[in-house]
């Protein structure tokens, strides 16, 4: 390959000196409509800083993958979007995030209402100890929806959306805990999309699953693309390259490079990114 990264080496140097540096954001991102905008976002767990001035915009209707070595702050960033970090006492933040222009960290923001606009799927499937049906419509239940017709309809469409309907349509009243791991994860996706979220956060949704279940989830993400704006953490390079439209590479709490997935994987601007993707560190 005769392609050479434009700049190299300045990232590690800046990090070691603890200096800020601008993330390498590809120009093509500017033409996208953004569902979520993160601006100069910092986060501390007590005294230790987990996120350093992250500025990143998530395009609407596309899949954006967050990659980076373990512990670089991907989950932290994701959990900041729906303010799950509020549950941890020691967390302190600075900076801004906007969901469809609505400031997430504004003082008067109703966190409960905010979370209802954001769907989240965790690393480990976490179905609730109730029936499949009740699991899927949980967001509606807590919203006070009583109409059985609405509930049944949402349940079906969400399960269809998550590609689980055919497998469970005859046993909606069975315990969700009796499903297989892959089914449980798709159930969690159905639960996340049943509230028609404005953005869907997936935190390594396949890392606890076997290859076949993983493949099914990847297919599912493919299908969800377009209808949902997805921000997805993944550990798996192939997954990122297959499923996503855009990829952001994070390292030690910083955003390093962000651009269309093809560019990031085939002609990254930074040498660090190339090294990481080709498995030279991480």
């Amino acid at each position: 390959m005769n392609y050479a990264p434009a700049i190299s080496g300045h990232v590690f140097e800046a990090i070691s000196k603890n200096e800020p540096f601008p993330a390498e954001v590809h120009a093509s991102l500017a033409s996208e409509a953004h569902v979520l905008e993160i601006e100069r976002f910092d986060l501390w767990y007590g005294k230790s800083r987990a996120l350093h001035s992250i500025t990143l915009s998530v395009p609407r209707g596309k899949v954006t993958a967050l990659i980076g070595p373990s512990g670089c702050g991907k989950s932290t960033l994701l959990r900041s979007v729906n303010r799950m970090n509020d549950l941890i006492d020691s967390v302190r933040i600075e900076g801004e995030m906007r969901l469809n222009g609505d400031p997430i960290y504004a003082p008067g923001q109703d966190v409960i209402e905010l979370r209802k606009r954001i769907g989240m799927v965790f690393q480990k499937p976490n179905p609730f100890p109730m029936s499949i049906f009740e699991n899927v419509i949980y967001p509606l239940r807590i919203d006070g929806e009583r109409d059985r017709r609405v509930l049944a309809e949402v349940c079906e469409s969400s399960l269809r959306g998550a590609g689980l309907w055919d497998e469970v349509k005859d046993r909606l009243n069975d315990s969700a805990l009796r499903l297989s791991g892959g089914q449980q994860q798709r159930l969690c996706i159905a639960r996340a999309i049943s509230a028609q979220p404005e953005v869907l956060l997936l935190d390594e949704p396949c890392s606890a699953l076997d290859p076949i279940a993983t493949a099914r989830i990847e297919d599912l993400i493919e299908e969800l693309k377009g209808n949902y704006s997805i921000l997805m953490v993944t550990h798996n390079m192939q997954q990122a390259s297959r499923s996503s439209d855009f990829t952001a590479f994070m390292y030690l709490g910083r955003l390093v490079e962000y651009g269309p997935t093809q560019d990031i994987f085939l002609q990254p601007h930074l040498k660090e990114t190339e090294d990481y993707i080709s498995g030279r560190f991480g």
Partner: protein, 585 residues
């Protein structure tokens, strides 16, 4: 970063090398073999003790109602005794016992003693006939016995008072007509008429207890209305005067009802008085028993196994569904069963929600720290407070402070007779609820903390509030643990006696705490309790020898009751658990 394994060779030189021990085999101790024996032994001893206790209770409790044969013995001294063998044991008689025997049998007695190494058998006969003999039981040693038989027509009579009677039927009076004759003939007559006499007696009881009770209740209610009106608007007010007039009218009407009931009762009494049974005791005395006093009578020596089984079942049923008589040592324990179950259930209804709420606050809301730890330790230690202390607290606080306040506010008309200002069902349940609180809180807290945090996070991420998460995710998931707490509380509460003696359990309660008169559940009433019943039978009874088998039988019943309540709860818990089983990753 994979560094440590590869660095090892470098460090090796500096390390003190440790040689493996010379011993060939791993020692027995480190294999753990002795530990297996130790732990297994501990379990075996524990289960043996429990099984032993159960076996003891079963051994003594189950045969209580079995009708054994009646024996009649003639002693050398010329006494005749008849009755049921209730205890058999070996003893060493004083030499004077042998001396007292007539000359002819002394040698035989001595050789008998020699063979038994100085010991011989003696039996305790339940001879009954208390009004004639002044004792219920008599010891008789084998040395004294000249002859022994099992007379066919010796009849056992269980009656309403004076304990059992043993004798041979000699005459029967049916509707005033006296017949003498063969026991067999008389017995046929007895069986023919006994049921109708008993039916009349039961009707009379009903009139006396229920209907007269109802009349009294009406008069009392009217009197209370007068008192309430006087208290509310003064003695000379119009209201009070109206109430007095009304009360007068009620009293007049009641008086009339009362007289008519009395007349009916007198008629029934007169009718029954014309039925009697004359029996001859073993020592030749005669006694006349009123037929209505006879609860059950049969000739045990004539009965085959099936008939004995019939008596056994009949007695067991009486035990379960009837009221006690003879200072609780005979008859049934139904009020005690009822009181125990009701009190335990009310206790569970009080303690479970209360304990769960407390555990929820401790686990979900309180910020962990020294105060929370101190509270937790305090709760755990509450379980170690002697239960009688809870009884004292219940009496002092619930009965005398809360109860007295309730009386002054709501039942002023009845004062100075206390309504809630004394021991009662509700105070007993509350006291036991307090006692069992730690037993509920501890497993509940454990169950709450074992709910995976991933489930809570999932719920929060869906936009659920803290309470919604607790209500919809945490509590259902913790339900089996909460049920465990409830099971422990049930077992603990149902078997507790000491505090109950202070806050409402009584030897004999005139009324059940649940009946058909409003407000149906009379939480202020004192009640009977199986545990207290056992204590009362075993330690307070006049006729303790007769009560002893009943102690075991009642214990057996209490254990069965606790086990039943527990099995019910365990069954519910198993059903709940099944909902949460599955592929947990």
């Amino acid at each position: 970063m994979s560094e440590s394994p590869r660095k090892e060779p470098v460090d090796k030189a500096r390390r003190v090398t440790r040689r493996r021990s010379e011993r060939r085999a791993t020692s027995l101790l480190s294999h753990g073999e002795p530990m297996v024996w130790l732990t297994g032994g501990a379990l075996a001893i524990a289960s043996l003790m429990i099984l032993g206790l159960l076996a003891l209770v079963l051994w003594h409790g189950l045969p209580t109602f079995w009708p054994g044969p009646l024996v009649q013995v003639q002693t050398h001294a010329g006494r005749t005794l008849a009755g049921e063998v209730s205890v058999t044991e070996r003893f060493a008689p004083e030499p004077s016992v042998v001396e007292a025997l007539p000359e002819g049998v002394r040698a035989a007695a001595r050789s008998e003693l020699e063979r038994g190494e100085g010991r011989t058998r003696r039996r305790m006969l339940r001879t009954g006939n208390y009004e004639l003999s002044g004792s219920h039981f008599n010891w008789v040693s084998d040395l004294e016995i000249a002859s022994e038989s099992e007379p066919e027509w010796l009849v056992l009579v269980e009656r309403l008072s004076w304990g059992r009677f043993y004798g041979t039927p000699r005459a029967i009076t049916i509707d005033g007509a006296r017949t003498e004759g063969e026991p067999g003939v008389l017995w046929a007559r007895f069986e023919e008429h006994h049921d109708e006499v008993r039916a009349r007696w039961e009707r009379r009881r009903e009139l006396e207890v229920v209907e007269i009770g109802e009349v009294n209740h009406r008069m009392e209610a009217a009197r209370l209305r007068v008192r309430a009106a006087e208290l509310a608007s003064g003695v000379d007010s119009d209201e009070a005067r109206a109430a007095r007039g009304e009360s007068q009218r009620v009293a007049t009407a009641a008086e009339e009802d009362f007289r008519s009931l009395q007349a009916q009762i007198a008629t029934l009494r007169e009718q029954n008085a014309r039925y009697t049974l004359e029996l001859e005791t073993a020592d030749g005395a005669r006694a006349t028993l009123a037929l209505e006093e006879v609860v059950r009578a049969f000739a045990p020596n004539r009965l085959g196994t099936a008939a004995r089984l019939g008596v056994y079942v009949d007695r067991t049923l009486e035990f379960l569904v009837d009221e006690p008589r003879e200072a609780n040592s005979e008859g049934g324990v139904f009020p005690a069963i009822f009181g125990t179950v009701l009190m335990t259930l009310i206790m569970a209804v009080l303690v479970v929600p209360f304990g769960v709420l407390a555990a929820l606050y401790l686990r979900e809301y309180a910020r962990p720290g020294p105060i929370v730890s101190a509270v937790r330790i305090a709760i755990n230690n509450l379980a170690g407070v002697p239960s009688i202390v809870f009884g004292v607290f219940g009496l002092g606080f619930f009965c005398y402070i809360v109860g007295v306040q309730v009386d002054e506010l709501l039942f002023a008309a009845k004062l100075p007779t206390p309504t809630y200002g004394k021991g009662g069902l509700v105070w007993a349940s509350l006291t036991l609820a307090l006692l069992t609180l730690p037993v509920v809180i501890v497993p509940t807290e454990e169950a709450l903390s074992s709910v995976p945090s991933s489930m809570r996070e999932g719920s929060y991420a869906c936009g659920a509030t803290k309470w919604q998460t607790i209500w919809r995710i945490v509590l259902p998931r913790a339900m089996p643990g909460i049920m465990t707490g409830m099971i422990l509380a049930l077992a603990r509460g149902a078997g507790e006696v000491a505090p109950l003696m202070l806050v409402g359990a009584v030897k004999l309660a005139p009324e059940l705490p649940l009946d058909a008169t409003a407000p149906f559940l009379h939480a202020e009433r004192s009640f009977m309790h199986l545990g207290f019943h056992i204590y009362d039978l075993g330690f307070q009874s006049q006729n303790s020898e007769a009560a002893k088998p009943m102690v075991y039988t009642t214990t057996l019943l209490l254990i069965a009751l606790v086990v039943t309540l527990n099995l019910l709860a365990i069954w519910i818990r198993a059903r709940l658990r099944r909902r949460f089983q599955g592929n947990q990753l």
